[in-house]
């Protein structure tokens, strides 16, 4: 199914908050499993665990994965789930990709530290393409590499720099439904878009805190309409761009207390009193997010790392055909 000719953007309201401190500590990424299950990747120094969670804010258990042994990770960055709920994790400390099942049992692990073809140095972002191959951001080698699920090297591109197809410590990556690849070029404060084999298509963004500007973008995702979501980590926000890279809007956070958080606070009289004494506006804001994940049904999940929770927004947009959406025009107008 192709992309719509146009969109009537009805809104993008806040949907819900998931998790809280103790359950979802330092969530950095998440993956969608079966039956509305989420696998939330939580990382802190000396800790790495996967929290199984429902989209209705229910804890389904967790398992720790921290370590250096096969099946463990030290500095995980990205989690992906395949159709069987096997979980794929990058590890930027151990320079490898680890594959475990949904209970944490080792399936496979591959990757070798180095800068040669197929070797990795600080792998961070990772995304499946439609064929099930993996694009891996090789951060400290300033490049993107493509592998089979089993770790077979398929190619790659990029080098250190700020020109087209060059990177400076890239981080997040996404692949859209036509196979184009989007990379959050972290220290260049931009997003670059490539064809499946690495041919440069476009770049957008520059340093700053205004609309369409970035302060160290860390994560990127693309939805079925071609809309591009970029985590502007240093500015504590997510920015939405259309498929041409034109700025649409930003999300700075609108969190409310999650269901589990409300339940927890019912037996905490002292902090409830302190909350009553505090200005609460700040608690809605995103703090140090680093990834964004968009579901098929238009829900945008933002692991809100610094606030131990996940913020979820819901896209409301109506697809338009050629009769409902005028041809492109360059000049603005005041007559309507």
């Amino acid at each position: 199914m192709g992309r719509p000719y146009g969109l009537l953007r009805a809104g993008f309201p806040f949907h819900k908050t998931l998790g809280m401190r103790r359950l979802t500590n330092y969530p950095i990424d998440l993956a969608f499993g079966k039956e509305d299950r989420l696998f939330i990747l939580c990382r802190n120094e000396g800790t790495a665990l996967i929290r199984k969670y429902s989209t209705e804010d229910a804890d389904l258990g967790s398992f720790g994965i921290y370590g250096e042994e096969p099946g463990q990770v030290t500095w995980p960055v990205t989690i992906l789930a395949d159709a069987d709920e096997n979980l794929y994790l990058t590890d930027e400390a151990l320079h490898r990709v680890t594959i475990i099942d949904n209970e944490g049992e080792l399936i496979d692990s591959w990757g070798e530290e180095g800068s040669g073809p197929g070797q990795l140095n600080g792998p961070s972002g990772m995304s499946f393409d439609a064929d099930g191959n993996l694009y891996v951001v090789d951060t400290l080698n300033h490049r993107v590499q493509k592998f089979t699920r089993e770790g077979g090297f398929l190619g790659g591109w990029g080098s250190h720099g700020c020109g087209k197809s060059e990177f400076n410590m890239p981080w997040g990556i996404a692949v859209d439904e036509v196979g184009d690849v989007y990379v959050a070029d972290w220290r260049n404060d931009r997003v670059q878009k490539f064809g499946a084999d690495g041919e440069f298509k476009m770049a957008f963004g520059e340093s700053g805190c205004g609309d369409g500007q970035f302060n160290r973008p860390s994560g990127v995702d693309v939805d079925k309409h071609g809309d591009i979501y970029v985590v502007d980590r240093g500015n504590n926000r997510v920015q939405l761009f259309n498929e041409e890279g034109r700025y649409v809007q930003q999300f700075i956070g609108d969190a409310t207390l999650s269901t589990v958080a409300i339940s927890y606070m019912m037996t905490n009289a002292y902090p409830n009193r302190l909350r009553d004494m505090a200005k609460l506006e700040i608690q809605k804001l995103l703090r140090w997010p680093q990834s964004v994940i968009v579901s098929e049904d238009g829900l945008m999940y933002v692991p809100d790392t610094g606030s131990y929770r996940v913020q979820v927004y819901r896209k409301e947009a109506v697809e338009l055909n050629e009769l409902q959406f005028a041809p492109p025009r360059r000049a603005p107008a005041l007559n309507i």
Partner: protein, 467 residues
């Protein structure tokens, strides 16, 4: 550059920073001593540490994570004196997580010290008085008109500025009244979504606007007026100068005895106090005076290293953690075992220093730590050291072996007896002979084993405990 100059530069970097690798040391030495002092005290001459890297790789709100990140800064900041002054302030204006129990507030305070540690004493004391962690630590959030809490007022005079014997109990009471209403706004509490930084708040309804008499001055003083009076006092200049001397030059007795035990070098304290007074408490000027003084240059190995100094010095020697690497909090825990839990000094007096860093248990921790670290020949700093040893010759006499190791590991100055013991030990293995083609069959060379053992003996020596 002569070896003597290299030793002096190493002394400067141990005191004004956290040590230096051999390569760093030679780069500093090439600039010359006075230029290095200028680089240190005028931090704008050097780029700041890469904050993007800190934020990307060292997250977490809990003190051991933040302490680990701080140790990474100590190791890698191009502005080492900035970090050293943050540690100085953390020691002198001691505030502890044990009571504050708010990790972001503590980290905000260390950031503050990093930012203003080399500014002016007036700015330091004013910012300190407005710092939420300090306000909480010394109960100024409960210091309100009609119900004064004198804790902060007392410590401001006793431990943070003038020292005992330079003010009266009435001065303490009036000082406390001037700081009534200096509190912080209630932050959103920890649960359920983590710490939020508290911010200073002046509450006029809690402030005593009445007349106060303080150190002979009378007026409707607020806290900043009190600080203006404090910083003009010669006692403040002498007290802060003695702290600087104790931290950077040579061990003094513990602070509580300062009003009865004179400084070991009164002339040095007067020199620093004069610099303090003539510059209106400009810390850069006082530090520049200190580092360029003869008494500083003559004070090599006159201080027991603090745990933070020992750990960072050893890590610089072995060359690890120069790029983001998992595991920094282990060095927070190591420092804690040695008696210096960063972010949590034991009392408002800070840590007791000098020989009080050393007891049987802590000395064991210090030596075991250093011996373990240098015992791994694969570490980049050890590899570099072995490579340099090889450049001396294919075969080194025991004296050459010992002296070159001492030079490359510091330079480290040993007492004659200790050096003689090391030479005697080296003689038991004969000359140190390198094979012509390095290690064979992946096996460690015998020479490498001997070098590692020699380094372990050096870092286990009594003398290595001194900065």
């Amino acid at each position: 550059m002569a070896d003597e100059d290299l030793g002096l530069i190493a002394h400067l970097l141990r005191r004004a920073g956290f040590g230096a690798s051999r390569e760093e040391l030679e780069a500093y030495a090439a600039k010359g001593y006075d230029e290095v002092v200028e680089d240190l005290v005028d931090e704008e001459r050097c780029p700041p540490i890469d904050e993007d890297i800190i934020k990307r790789y060292f997250g977490g709100q809990w003190p051991d994570f933040q302490s680990g990140a701080w140790i990474y800064r100590m190791l890698n900041s191009p502005r080492p004196l900035e970090e050293k002054m943050a540690l100085f302030c953390h020691h002198v204006f001691a505030t502890g997580f044990a009571k504050v129990a708010h990790a972001l507030a503590m980290n905000d305070q260390i950031d503050l010290f990093r930012r203003i540690g080399m500014s002016n004493i007036r700015e330091i004391l004013l910012e300190l008085s407005m710092n939420p962690a300090m306000i909480n630590w010394l109960d100024n959030n409960e210091n309100i008109k009609g119900e004064p809490n004198e804790n902060y007022g007392r410590e401001l005079l006793e431990l943070f500025s003038m020292g005992v014997g330079n003010y009266t109990e009435d001065d303490i009471k009036n000082c406390a009244l001037a700081f009534t209403g200096w509190t912080y706004a209630q932050p959103v509490p920890l649960y359920p979504h983590g710490y939020y930084s508290p911010e200073f708040l002046f509450r006029p309804e809690d402030h005593d606007f009445g007349e106060k008499t303080f150190l002979g001055h009378t007026g409707n003083f607020n806290g900043d007026d009190i600080i203006d009076i404090i910083v003009e006092q010669p006692a403040t200049a002498r007290f802060i100068s003695r702290h600087l001397y104790n931290f950077f030059v040579a061990d003094e007795p513990q602070v509580p005895s300062w009003n009865v035990t004179p400084p070991q070098d009164p002339e040095a304290i007067e020199t620093l106090a004069d610099a303090f007074m003539e510059s209106n408490g400009d810390m850069r000027h006082v530090l520049r005076t200190l580092f360029k003084s003869d008494f500083f240059k003559a004070a090599r190995f006159k201080r027991v290293k603090s745990p933070a100094e020992l750990i960072t010095g050893v890590l610089k020697l072995v060359g690890t953690y120069r790029t983001p690497t998992p595991g920094m909090p282990q060095y927070h825990r190591a420092a804690t075992l040695m008696g210096q839990e960063l972010f949590n000094p034991p009392t408002v007096e800070g840590w007791h220093t000098g020989q009080e860093w050393i007891d049987g248990g802590m000395l064991t921790e210090r030596i075991n730590f250093a011996v373990d670290e240098v015992g791994d020949a694969s570490k980049p700093g050890i590899q570099a050291l072995i490579k340099r040893l090889r450049t001396v010759g294919d075969s080194l006499t025991p004296e050459q072996f010992v002296d070159t190791c001492l030079d490359l590991a510091g330079p480290v100055n040993l007492e004659d007896k200790t050096r003689a013991d090391l030479i005697r030990f080296a003689q038991s293995g004969g000359d140190l002979v390198f094979s012509s083609n390095g290690s064979a069959n992946g096996q460690t060379e015998e020479s490498t084993d001997r070098i590692i053992l020699m380094l372990q003996l050096i870092v286990a020596s009594r003398e290595y405990q001194f900065a």
